[in-house]
């Protein structure tokens, strides 16, 4: 919605500057998004007169114009190629030094040997038309020589662009906005148009010339019609064109413009039918038949259904009620007689119809928000007045007013106590009543209760809370005092929320950056990364109305975000990066069911140099180390990493599933080398994903409990064994623990070796064992006895060769 500042002034007396008005309207809830000065950049354009046109000595396509600039006879030379220059014409002129609205600066210039001292402007150069004009702009002959183009074209006005929320439907017309200004700021009375016209004495009453039948009053509670004969279709007067242009409405012809003008004034959409096209002069307002068709004004055939309301004659639809007129009954240059419709249609019905047809018009926009049903005849009369004056129309006496569902104004009861309670104020009943009266609500007061009648133009008010907002608006939101409610509760996070924070803290301490990625994704990512091979990851939830392929499905894994982030950073020459994200993944769960949501923790890393264990898998062990410190810190019980080769997107020899007891929590693995290469991921990039909800459930809610520190010294023993390559270290560790007994307190691996001194297909592993007793200082022979047991067991169980013992 956009309005002219000057036009608004016609309806209410105020002396606010456009800036002040902007501020006032915004603070009243009518947000002004932007303001535009119509004469912007045209301050220096003056009206000149082409005195004389001479041929250019050196160019066929150029002419030399001597342009008079003022009454004192100042003349400027302009060289131009415009085809429509003509001696004696008044034109807009820019002298050297002037900057045009498009930023172009006019300079004196030598055009083929003749100095041009300025420019005669075209309409688009002045920013008054979008399309490129063929020639210069020719002004009317009475344009004042030397005068300002702004004054002459009445451009000394401002356009305010309003962003109106649905509850300001009443402000979709000039009078509605004027009423807000009157009610909230200026007081006084509105200057409403004085409607006067003469009904023809020769014509019979409209009821004898036309008929209107409403078949579906639920969708059309009121329909009024007036007949205007012998209209002359022509261009509208300039002032009307200008006002409509300010409102963003294109001028068509006087009749159509008049309906739009009244729409802008009264917020009442009107429609003009070519009366002679209405069969038997009879209008029937009814639901469309299923599959019934109409060619609308925009020359498109629309297929209707039986929920849509149409204006018809006996032959078929003439218009889609409240949405768009039909092509056949449109007002054209040949039109003589017009029937003016001013009606009220059911807002929900209009909204549904406009939506189904994909047709959003100035008219449907207003009907679906609710127009003032009581003003239908007044708006129709206003149109007649203008048609009489500007289309030379003959007004047929009388009005057809079908009004099957009469407006009954709602009565609301407002309790002073409750108003004050809700707003934090201490207003007297009379004061509140006065505020509502200012807003044109009729009120009756008795002992702390105000009875309020809702006027027909307040389609947004249906209950006392709506009135409370009005009172706050009149009082001024910013005049209401500020207080802070005292909380009787303790603010806190839940156990799970705290757990999440803790996990995040540990992962960050481990060197991983927290990232946040899109949960709407491209299916293609999943096939590129072979993630769709995972049955779980393939359970996509698709968006019914996606923006694009890139945002067409919901993620089923965090890995896509992790991998894309790592790849993008690697492409930007980042040498090392580790990241994690905790977020929701979504899984298809049947066509009409709620998809499953699951919190996942995922992460990934590349660019680690320290080749721990000489396995050439530094990323794997680095990331595993971070997970181990996480699991240890949150005291996850019995977690294990178990070799796995079932995931097509991961390296089959470098993947482990992560278990807590028997429950699978997730996995860690190196990205499959082929996928890594295709996705620009550095070789060795390793990722993990853990079901966060399961991790939380598997983590005991322990409180910390102090264990006494050992008093007696510890004894260390090193153990180096050579075993076959395929024996996993975890097996040996478990075996050592099994035989270590109570006094084996700690067990570490400090070396892993394949190589020269070790036979083919074998590896050497060195362990450090720590023995300690809680009761006494251990003697060497006690330790040796236990150590020997371990050695025997290991060498036996794994056919291990014990080195250096």
């Amino acid at each position: 919605m956009q309005i002219s500042y000057k036009w608004l002034k016609e309806y209410v007396d105020f002396n606010y500057t456009p800036d002040e008005l902007t501020e006032k309207l915004t603070m009243a809830g009518l947000e002004v998004e932007g303001m535009e000065y119509l004469g912007e950049g045209l301050e220096d354009i003056i009206i000149g007169k082409i005195e004389k046109i001479e041929e250019h000595p050196n160019a066929d396509k150029l002419v030399i114009c001597r342009v008079m600039l003022n009454k004192q006879g100042k003349v400027m030379t302009v060289v131009t190629g415009a085809p429509n220059v003509e001696e004696g014409k008044m034109v807009p002129v820019a002298e050297a030094g002037t900057v045009l609205p498009n930023g172009m600066r006019i300079e004196k210039s030598d055009l083929r040997g003749v100095i041009s001292e300025g420019m005669i402007c075209s309409i688009d150069e002045l920013g008054l038309a979008e399309e490129r004009a063929d020639g210069i702009m020719i002004l009317s002959d009475n344009a004042p020589l030397g005068g300002s183009i702004i004054d002459h074209l009445k451009l000394d006005d401002y356009i305010l662009k309003l962003d109106l929320t649905p509850n300001y439907a009443r402000c979709l017309g000039m009078i509605g906005i004027a009423r807000e200004i009157k009610s909230l700021f200026t007081g006084g009375e509105l200057n409403l148009p004085e409607i006067k016209f003469t009904e023809s004495k020769e014509e019979k009453n409209i009821n004898q010339q036309a008929e209107i039948i409403i078949e579906d009053p639920d969708l059309c509670p009121r329909y009024t019609g007036r007949l205007v004969k012998d209209v002359k279709i022509k261009a509208s007067p300039l002032w009307m064109k200008r006002k409509l242009k300010a409102a963003g409405i294109r001028s068509i012809n006087n009749v159509v413009d008049i309906t739009n003008y009244v729409l802008m004034e009264y917020n009442q959409p009107l429609h003009a039918f070519d009366f002679d096209k209405i069969k038997n002069s009879k209008i029937i307002v009814r639901r469309a038949e299923s599959e019934e068709e109409i060619l609308t004004l925009d020359e498109k055939t629309r297929v209707l259904d039986d929920e849509m309301l149409v204006i018809t004659d006996e032959d078929g639809p003439l218009a889609v009620a409240g949405v768009m007129g039909g092509y056949e009954s449109e007002v054209t240059e040949k039109t003589n007689n017009v029937l003016i419709e001013s009606a009220y249609f059911n807002p929900i019905s209009i909204r549904k119809t406009a939506k189904k047809l994909g047709l959003h018009s100035e008219s449907s926009h207003r009907f679906e928000r609710g127009v003032d049903i009581e003003k239908a005849v007044e708006a129709n009369n206003r149109a007649c007045q203008l048609l009489e004056k500007y289309a030379d129309g003959t007004i047929v006496p009388g009005v057809i007013d079908q009004y099957p569902l009469k407006y009954e104004s709602a009565e609301l009861e407002l309790e002073t106590k409750r108003v004050n309670q809700l707003l934090g104020l201490e207003l007297e009943t009379a004061k509140i009543a006065g505020m509502l009266e200012k807003l044109d609500f009729p009120v009756k007061v008795k002992e702390g209760i105000i009875n309020v009648k809702v006027p027909s133009f307040r389609t947004d008010v249906s209950q006392p809370a709506d009135l409370v907002e009005e009172i706050a608006r009149v009082y001024g939101y910013n005049n209401i005092p500020s207080t802070t409610p005292i909380s009787k509760q303790l603010g806190r996070r839940t156990v799970k929320q705290k757990f999440k924070k803790r996990v995040e803290r540990i992962l960050k301490a481990g060197g991983l950056d927290e990232i946040i990625t899109y949960s709407l994704q491209d299916k293609k990512n999943y096939s590129d990364l072979k993630l769709n091979s995972d049955s779980q990851f393939g359970k996509f939830v698709s968006i019914k109305n996606p923006l694009s392929e890139a945002f067409a499905i919901m993620r089923t894994t965090i890995l896509v975000g992790i991998i894309n982030t790592l790849a993008a950073n690697a492409r930007r020459q980042t040498s090392q990066m580790g990241v994690f994200e905790i977020g929701t993944a979504f899984y298809y769960n049947g066509n009409s069911s709620r998809p499953k949501e699951k919190q996942l923790l995922g992460g990934g890393i590349f660019g680690i140099e320290e080749n721990i264990w000489q396995e050439n898998a530094p990323e794997f062990y680095h990331l595993k180390g971070i997970l181990e410190i996480l699991f240890d810190k949150i005291q996850l019980k019995n977690y294990r990493f178990v070799s796995d080769d079932s995931r097509e997107y991961l390296h089959p020899g470098r993947t482990a599933e992560i278990y807590s007891g028997r429950e699978l929590l997730g996995f860690i693995g190196e990205i499959h080398p082929e996928i890594a290469e295709k996705s620009d991921l550095p070789a060795g990039t390793t990722v993990f994903e853990i079901d966060f909800d399961s991790l939380y459930k598997a983590t005991p809610k322990v409180n910390y409990h102090y264990k006494k520190l050992p008093k007696y010294p510890s004894v260390f023993r090193d153990l180096a064994v050579v075993v076959k390559d395929d024996i996993e270290v975890a097996e040996i560790l478990n075996a050592i623990k099994e035989k270590g007994g109570e006094i084996l307190k700690d067990l570490d691996i400090f070396d892993l070796y394949h190589g020269n001194q070790i036979k083919e297909g074998h590896k050497s592993i060195a362990f450090k064992l720590k023995f300690q007793s809680e009761e006494k200082t251990l003697r060497d022979d006690e330790v040796n006895k236990q150590f020997k047991k371990i050695i025997n067991y290991i060498s036996d169980k794994f056919s291990a060769e014990i080195r250096g013992n």
Binding site: R351, R369, I480, S482, T483, P485, S487, R493, K508
Partner: protein, 341 residues
């Protein structure tokens, strides 16, 4: 033999020799030479039997004195030598403290999490709890229970992404209000941060995925004054005490009265600049008194209880607070960006 004279000579010799002692080894040699079992002072004691009895006490006394004197010299000198040795060692061990420390890789917090946590801490301090809800919602929770019936123009305020006929991606965190009210009796004080979705094309200021935090307070006698006071506290905590706050009438179907909250522009201080579209104000959140229909639909007595709610865009808050000019940067996760926080 004149032992007293000998003592004097020993003393004189020792005093001179001491000056030549350069290290602890030499010092030990000297100790043995003078004070050892076969040392010079001992030899005087050893010769005591050979002199007159009346001379003995004087010799004994002087010999003891000399012994003590040399002991003192030696220990003093030892200390001197040790200090010197330490000084030399420290000099040798001196390092260049201006060399950089070992690079420790610490992970960073994403700016969206930073702002969310900051907000959460403020609210926890005010007695709020943190609530959560699903990202996929039913029409009922996302719209109807929030007083947005099916054919209301308010549905146009948000472009919705649908999953199927019954479910959609929540367009705001407001459904958490309804879920909270259904699950508990008043008083309610919650803040619900989370991810929301709109059918908005991705550009510098729009994203189909973004984050909001929803606040809800319901109790007896909660007023618009309380709403204002609480929001002013938050703005102060987030942007400092010298920000102006203004409340302006607005429209949200689930609040009545509704208010948009503006703060004076953090760049131009209200003078007008491109960031605030030359208005001097930045719109930071929507708020209002919970609509009686919303209270009633969730089973609260709207005549007995009242409350306020507000919703703030966390992405926008992060952009404003950290001076980021493009919302997409938040989701690109460039390491150089992440490591600025």
């Amino acid at each position: 033999m004149d032992l007293l004279k000998d003592l004097k000579e020993i003393e004189k010799k020792a005093e001179e020799e001491l000056k030549e002692i350069k290290n602890l080894d030499m010092l030990e040699e000297m100790r043995i030479k003078y004070l050892g079992k076969k040392g010079a002072v001992q030899s005087i004691f050893n010769q005591m039997g050979k002199i007159d009895a009346e001379q003995r006490p004087a010799v004994g006394k002087n010999a003891n004195k000399l012994k003590q004197k040399i002991e003192k010299w030696l220990s003093e000198h030892k200390e001197k030598l040790e200090k010197k040795a330490a000084a030399e060692r420290f000099k040798k061990e001196k390092i260049d403290v201006t060399l950089p420390g070992k690079e420790i890789k610490a992970g960073t917090t994403h700016p969206l999490s930073l702002i969310t946590e900051e907000l959460e801490e403020i609210f926890i301090g005010l007695g709020f709890s943190i609530a959560e809800g699903p990202e996929i919602e039913s029409e009922y929770y996302n719209f109807e229970a929030l007083n947005i019936p099916e054919h209301h123009p308010a549905r146009d305020l948000q472009d919705t992404l649908y999953i199927n006929d019954n479910y959609l991606l929540r367009t705001h965190t407001s459904p958490v209000q309804v879920r909270t009210m259904e699950a508990q009796e008043p008083p309610v004080r919650i803040i619900a941060p989370g991810r929301v979705y709109r059918s908005d094309e991705l550009d510098a200021s729009h994203s189909p995925i973004f984050h909001q935090a929803e606040g809800l307070v319901i109790d007896r006698d909660i007023s618009f004054s309380d709403l204002k006071g609480t929001i002013e506290l938050i703005v102060e905590a987030l942007f400092g005490a010298d920000r102006d706050v203004r409340f302006r009438p607005s429209y949200f179907p689930f609040t009545e009265p509704s208010a948009e909250v503006d703060v004076s522009c953090i760049v131009c201080e209200g003078e007008g600049c491109p960031l605030c579209s030359h208005t001097g104000w930045l719109e930071i959140m929507g708020s209002g008194m919970v609509h009686p229909n919303v209270l009633e639909m969730s089973g609260y007595d709207a005549d007995y209880y009242s409350g306020f709610a507000f919703g703030v865009g966390l992405d926008r808050l992060a952009l404003l607070k950290y001076g980021i000019d493009d919302i997409r940067v938040l989701y690109e996760n460039d390491k150089r960006f992440l490591h600025q926080f």
